[in-house]
């Protein structure tokens, strides 16, 4: 319960943008991989939240709505884009650059790419649960609410997701996995 004056929809967008935009875009990248698509998804979600602000009223509900909308829209975008998984499939075989002199930054970019590719290969719910739990640090209860699934399901998606992500990365990185 807040005792401060209620934000109007424009203020809500500005405040929540300032506090959460970057993190939500990063969350969306973990879900859809492509940064431009991720920004679109998050911007769409802010616009939708603006439209529903009257029923949301509180910053916490606004943020919860944003998270849920980002996840739902990301899922919807992926459904319309078989392209993404084909991208992953054709790139997974490429070896990690091995030259000892390779620029550290390029290696880091490569590693990030592999992790995002691996995320994209996971079943949707596992990907969503991993992103919400280990990137946003949401509790099981919050994730259950965001995704509309039980806490038990959150737990099992999380543990399977961690195992599946390791598996995916082992395929991609082999014995370099443990260096990550």
């Amino acid at each position: 319960m807040t005792v401060t004056a209620r934000w109007d929809a424009d203020t809500a967008v500005e405040e929540l943008y300032a506090a959460h935009y970057r993190r939500l875009v990063r969350l969306a990248i973990l879900l859809v991989r492509d940064p431009e698509t991720a920004e679109e998804v998050v911007q769409d979600s802010f616009v939708a939240m603006h439209g529903k602000w009257r029923t949301l009223k509180e910053p916490d509900s606004g943020l919860a709505y944003l998270r849920q909308t980002v996840v739902n829209r990301a899922r919807s975008v992926l459904r319309h884009r078989g392209v993404q998984s084909r991208y992953v499939a054709t790139h997974r075989a490429a070896p990690m650059p091995e030259e000892p002199g390779a620029d550290e930054r390029a290696l880091a970019d490569e590693r990030r790419g592999r992790v995002l590719d691996a995320m994209r290969e996971l079943p949707g719910r596992q990907r969503e649960v991993l992103a919400l739990r280990y990137y946003l640090d949401l509790s099981e209860a919050e994730i259950a609410e965001t995704l509309g699934i039980s806490r038990g399901a959150v737990k099992s998606h999380a543990s399977r997701g961690v195992a599946a992500l390791r598996e995916q990365l082992r395929d991609r990185l082999g014995d370099r996995l443990e260096d990550l």
């Binding site: 109007d8 929809a9 424009d10 809500a12 967008v13 500005e14 943008y17 935009y21 970057r22 875009v25 990063r26 990248i29 973990l30 940064p35 998050v42 911007q43 802010f46 616009v47 939708a48 603006h50 439209g51 529903k52 009257r54 029923t55 739902n72 899922r75 919807s76 975008v77 992926l78 459904r79 319309h80 884009r81 078989g82 590693r111 990030r112 992790v115 995002l116 995320m119 079943p123 949707g124 719910r125 596992q126 969503e128 991993l130 992103a131 280990y134 990137y135 509790s139 099981e140 509309g148 699934i149 399901a153 998606h157 999380a158 399977r160 961690v162 195992a163 992500l165 390791r166 990550l180």
Partner: protein, 356 residues
Amino acid sequence: MDQTTPHEEWVRGLLEDAVSDVAPEHGLDSIRRRTSSTAARHGRRGWLWAAGSAVVATAATVAAVVTLSNGPGTPQADHGFASGAASSQARQSASAQSGAASGSSQPSQGTTKAGPVDSTVTVPVYFVGQTPHGPRLYRDDQQVPAADAATPAVHAALAGYSTDPDYTSPWPSTAQVDKVSADGSGITIALQSGGNPLADRPSGMSSDEATLAVQQLVYTAQDALSSKAPVSFTVDGQPASKLLGVDVSGGVDRAPDTSTEALVWVLSPVQGAKVHSPFKVTGLANAFEANVVWELEQGGQVVKQGHTTAQEAFLMSPYSFNVDAPPGDYTLVVHDDDASGQGNVTQDTKDITVLP
């Protein structure tokens, strides 16, 4: 919250790092442009329609003719083919959509049965939306070719080609609809798996969602064919006994609407509609004491509000009301009464533009 294992800590570090180089900075202007009251809020649903199929093109012209039977018929009278008299706002909505049509001709004004005129019909297509009671079906009326209305309608449902961004489809993206047909023994939906088996429930899909996914297709196919016959499925040419973990052997009947449909639907105006004031809002609601509440919002502020009653309580039944508003962009929110006092309302929202 809970104690974490080293593997969990490892994932945490990995994910944090994977996106650490992303620093988006210029989103606010773009969001503001779209939320300001004068902005054209509906200019960019680009990605939704980007999939480029004929069905998508059809969906973009959606409900150029939205009609709702205003008679005191049973709720079923509102399912199936558009049959009511053309209302003025249906024509407005039709003219507002002009220019959006890709290839299909516009329905002539004043006619309701677009079919014989331009070979398209308007059929209900069902999608999944979130409500306080869990996921439920929402109805989105779409124009499809009259020659084979059921196949594109069911495909739109499965692929999630909704006109309202609040509605989605839980089906795996690889699945496709091959053909929807009907004969004396019932309706058959022929699916293509696209490589991923469809028999088992994907991890991450709840059994409620799976049941609703099957019902999405059952509702859409039955309405497109004006039939209540049970729906059988084939996958890649073989009869299916299980879909997404749901038993579909022997055909699937339409599930009771009270446990399947969202309690409030707005059928007209459609998302993105451009209307003249006063405009008429029509839909179906299953509301406590038949109370239907609405607000017209601009920039997140309520500028108009009111309530009406549906024809019957505790049963999906028609409601309608008129709204008078100055030109501008609005969000129309229609919801049931908050009987619990907990804010648990089922709502349907439509972004609309009132033309000068």
